[in-house]
């Protein structure tokens, strides 16, 4: 700060949008606790999400053409101060996260009332908002250490949220515990990696880091930092052999949380990976290219098949979806490993499309839980007739999960195949298509259970209320909408990919 | 078949009413007058064949006769019993009574 008084131009609310993006949900969380009212908790959470969504949309519109917005917290200039930095890539993620939150919350009202003990509701929504603002913060910040802080905010609240599934199934506690251990290890590795980078460069600001790493080149410290960050983030995004926490966490969390996390948490982790591999480091480094192609890619391919096969044989709908998520993350990693603009576009579009698809499916799971208590195939058989709307949404989003033309899932797989072919890696393209066939099998199993098997004679299931159906259908229709209107998502993703690669080229 | 018999009965000349023969004679007279009328005015023809006297009388006479013959032949070839396509074809069903309002005038 300068010692003499400088004339100050007042910032408008519009300038504050990047800050408000985080601040609104973050402030709402203690507000819910402070108010302590069970009735007010949900409206406050929902209002905060809606405001976030509006802000993220405004930000996305500002940066979609390749612009960058920066915000300096406390007025301290980077690299000293913390900087929020928004370009097309993270604006896209911000929009996805807040949109999913706005869709999931109305659904959560009924679902959470059913699955979580009533006295925990205020704290539940506070934790939810913290998780939400943590995820948003990870995406928005331009400071490497700040990423870690927000990652921890979201992770800690996630452990709480998963554990709150204990009212339905006690195993949620061990699942949350496992995730806590793994998540903490991941965060530790991540912060160790950042420590290495700080050691080598003396800065924490991402743009500055990129600059200095770019000029001084790679050395052992930077390389070790890269490896630690990669593994730390890999844990968070359930990168194949480190995915073991995910099936239990998703299966035993309350359904609304499964829907929210499946659609956002791993996606944000993918974003962090993108940010570090392309902005902080760059594919110009030989070590990065080799790591991606010889470590990440084989595991991504393995995930696509092994996790899909496990999903095929599962007998619990929710668990099947969890394994399918692991397989789908394989597609995104594969897109990143292509290291081309098309590949990156595929990864980013799939991040979005898979987000909405999984949101729809996990919400439908919540609907089945509400009516059938469990989601094993022999609990939900015959629901195609008893819960026609929910089941129809499952079919639609199931088609999107497979990647049937006309659905969102098709668009991203199509771009991914194109990316692989562009590089001449046609065996990879073939593998992508082949693993999609496995998706056909596991989705078909669900459809068969829902529609072709008779309902259990003691089943009294009826269609769920509108407050759940509408969010499910919004997500399901989004699967179709973004399958037909491919322009919006592809433009944003291309712009994001170009931004990421463009920065890398400096 | 019963229905063939009713048809035969209905279309037998003696059952077509006493007016039928007279009507044909009347019709033939009208035709003759119209044929003759062709000579009584000037035609504005576009197609040469139209200028032939009574073209519009002869043309339908010939073509319609030919059509009747062709139709008879084709009828023999194309006719099938009503349940031909399926035993529950729509042709075998009576029109559902709830869509009707049968009222007899003589009761």
């Amino acid at each position: 700060m300068a010692t003499e008084v400088l004339p100050h131009t007042a910032m408008t609310l519009h300038d504050h949008l990047p800050m408000l993006q985080i601040l609104v949900p973050f402030f709402a969380a203690p507000l819910i606790v402070f108010l302590g009212s069970r009735r007010l908790a949900w409206p406050v959470a929902f209002a905060a999400s809606v405001i976030s969504l509006v802000i993220s949309w405004m930000l996305l519109m500002q940066v979609i053409d390749g612009g960058v917005i920066t915000y300096h917290i406390g007025g301290w200039e980077p690299p000293l101060g913390i900087e929020y930095r928004i370009d097309a890539a993270n604006a896209f993620v911000l929009f996805l996260v807040s949109a999913v939150s706005v869709v999931v919350l109305p659904f959560a009202k009924t679902s959470v009332a059913d699955e979580v003990a009533a006295r925990d509701h205020t704290l539940f929504y506070a934790a939810y908002l913290l998780c939400f603002s943590g995820l948003m913060g990870v995406a928005i910040t331009g400071d490497a250490f700040n990423v870690f802080v927000f990652l921890e905010i979201s992770s800690l609240s996630t452990y709480v949220l998963i554990a709150s599934g204990a009212a339905r199934d006690k195993r949620a506690l061990t699942a949350a515990y496992d995730y806590l251990i793994m998540g903490t290890i991941g965060a530790t590795f991540f912060v160790i990696g950042i420590g290495f980078l700080y050691m080598a460069t003396g800065t924490l600001n991402m743009a500055d880091l990129a600059d200095r790493i770019g000029t001084q080149g790679g050395n052992r410290t930077v390389e070790a930092g890269f490896a630690f960050i990669l593994v730390g983030v890999g844990l968070k995004l359930a990168f194949y052999p480190m995915h073991l926490w995910l099936p239990n966490a998703y299966t035993f969390a309350p359904s609304a949380i499964s829907a929210f996390l499946a659609a956002t948490a791993t996606k944000v982790a993918v974003y962090v990976l993108l940010r570090f591999t392309f902005t902080v480091f760059s594919p110009a480094f030989q070590f990065e290219v080799l790591t991606l192609q010889f470590v990440i890619m084989p595991f991504a391919l393995l995930a696509m098949f092994a996790a899909s096969f496990v999903a095929v044989f599962q007998s619990d709908f929710k668990r099947m979806l969890a394994y399918s998520s692991i397989a789908q993350i394989g597609y995104m990693l594969l897109g990143i490993c292509l290291l081309t603009e098309t590949g990156l576009t595929a990864a980013i579009v799939h991040l979005f499309n898979h987000g909405i698809t999984k949101a729809a499916l996990f919400m439908a799971v919540g609907a089945y839980v509400l009516r059938n208590k469990d989601t094993f195939y022999n609990d939900i058989c015959g629901m195609g007739r008893k819960m026609p709307w929910t089941s129809a949404a499952v079919v639609i989003s199931g088609l999107s999960l497979i990647g049937v033309p006309g659905t969102a899932g098709f668009v991203s797989k199509w771009v991914l195949v194109q990316g692989a072919l562009e590089k001449g890696w046609w065996p990879i393209a073939t593998l992508v298509v082949a693993s999609s066939l496995l998706a056909v099998v596991y989705v078909w199993r669900v459809i068969e259970v829902l529609y072709l098997q008779p309902a259990r004679s003691d089943s009294t299931a009826t269609e769920v209320p509108m407050s759940m159906l509408v969010p499910i259908w919004i997500a399901a229709i989004a699967c179709i909408w973004f399958g037909i209107d491919t322009d919006t998502t592809l433009t944003a993703a291309r712009s994001a990919a170009a931004g990421l690669l463009g920065t890398a080229g400096q | 078949m019963e229905h063939d018999q009713t048809d035969a009965r209905k279309e037998a000349p003696e059952n077509q009413g006493p007016g039928a023969s007279r009507m044909i004679v009347g019709l033939a007279l009208v035709c003759a007058v119209l044929f003759l009328a062709d000579f009584a005015y000037e035609k504005h023809v576009y197609v040469p064949v139209e200028s032939m006297p009574g073209f519009y009388a002869i043309f339908p006479l010939v073509t319609c006769l030919a059509l009747v013959i062709v139709a008879r032949v084709l009828q023999a070839v194309l006719r099938r019993p009503v349940g031909y396509y399926a035993p529950k074809d729509v042709e075998t069903e009576a029109y559902p009574e709830d869509g009707l309002n049968r009222e007899r005038a003589d009761v």
Binding site: P247, F313 | D4, R9, K10, M23, C64, V82, V90
Partner: protein, 565 residues
Amino acid sequence: MFDVFPPVLVYLLGAVLLPLLPNAALRAGLSLLVPVIGGWLIWTLPEGNHAVVSLAGLDLTLIRNDKLASVFALIFSLAAFLSLLYAWHVRDRVQQTATLLYAGSAIGAVFAGDLISLFLFWEGTAIASVFLIWARGTEGAYHTGLRYLLIQVTSGVILLAGAALYWRETGSLAFEHMTLGSAATWLIFLAIGIKCGFPLLNNWLADAYPVATVTGTVILSAFTTKLAIYALARGFAGTELLIWIGVGMVLITVVQAMIENDLRRVLAYSLNNQLGFMVVGIGIGTELALNGAASHAVASVLYKAVLLMAVGAVLFRTGTAKASDLGGLYRTMPLTALFALVGSASIAAMPLFSGFVTKSLILSAAQHEHHYIAWAVLLFGSAAAVMHTAIRIPYAAFFGPDSGLRPHEAPAHMLLAMGLTAAFCVAIGVYPKALYALLPYAVDYKSYTTYHVVQQLQLVAFAALVFAVMMRAGLYPKSERSIVLDTDWVYRRLLPRVVGALSATMGAVWALVASAQERWLRGIILRLYRTHGPASRIALNWPTGSMVQWVAIVLGITLIVTFLS
């Protein structure tokens, strides 16, 4: 939202409101009000493009109003009003709603300025109309409806495919005049051709129309095919190929109409036959010919409606519309018989009736443009229409040999509807200028010349003479309880047989191969289940320590790869 109020919205609103009304008379009243308001809106609609909406990045023009569109929209409104009046007694909400949606979609399609909204309304007519067939409520009607729906929806899908290709080729979705040549235009042409009843694509028409309810057939006859005529006139006017297609339509339906027993099916063939006239007119493509096609469409809607209403009334009172079971009904249904005669006179193109002033436009156009073969076939078609429809329908139902049936006269609202429709037929015939004023192009044509009147009278009289003599001599094809095969035989009889035989053979071969492969496949799946199933090591719940072990392994590999490079 819109700069003008699209007439189709009136129908949609009506269709939404109607099922909510508890009282049947109220519903019928509302359904009559809708076409009146719609008609008024169309009458006052300004020319040009309006109500452009943006959908997923495409600009859809809901209203493109010119004289070609408005004449069709007006006759559709009139037909909707008359047939709804005829259907006053119907209490069934489904039929009433479907009728409004059907008419609304048809009007919407006529005003559609681009191929996408045309497609939407195109499918709208298909889906709404099938309920009029299903409303009959019998199993046979259900199957017929399915066949109808399949063909109609296929037409829509082909249209959509054509539209998509057209968009890729030209970058435009506007529904304007197009020239055959590319795959896109051929697909659009084919889609219209299906609805229009082109030869060999026409079998759905005679298959489905007679199956609908008493009132449903009247409603069906007005919209779908005339909409196709409009689309042809808009998109393919002057396409020479259409002349030959029209000729084919006239020829292929003539014999069927003569030997068919079901009078409503006779009228369906006859309708198809008349469509041939219009298609020829569009194929010729001069102003006179297009005027002829449009005006003949108007006249055809009306006289076909009155004939179907009359036959419908007979069905309504006797339970049958089979020529073999009817006859002599004029004794107790004199007014219905009279209106049927007016309709007959119109289709026969008797002077002072509507067909006379419209058909002659097309015939003259064919002469002017030297399409002599087409002209001769149309002339033959006119004469044949006298035999198979104009005389045969009244003869078989009302004047022929007495069947012994003594039904009551049709109910008052049916008589009113028939009377009004018949009055329109006469009004057009007596004062054609009113109709001519609505046509797309200025009309400079005199129908009432001595030559025209005499030649037409000759044509009708001699055709009638042939009918009378042949009938008297017992040479006219007999009306018997039977059905007559049409081209739908191919997919109703031949195809199922062939497929059945093929699948039996394939099945046998497959069973051989499958039994050999089954054990092999079973082995693979079993092995996969052992490695990936819920109880396998991959899917088990791992202890936390093992998870961490994997983290260590991955970190190790990554570090090694990073350092080695």
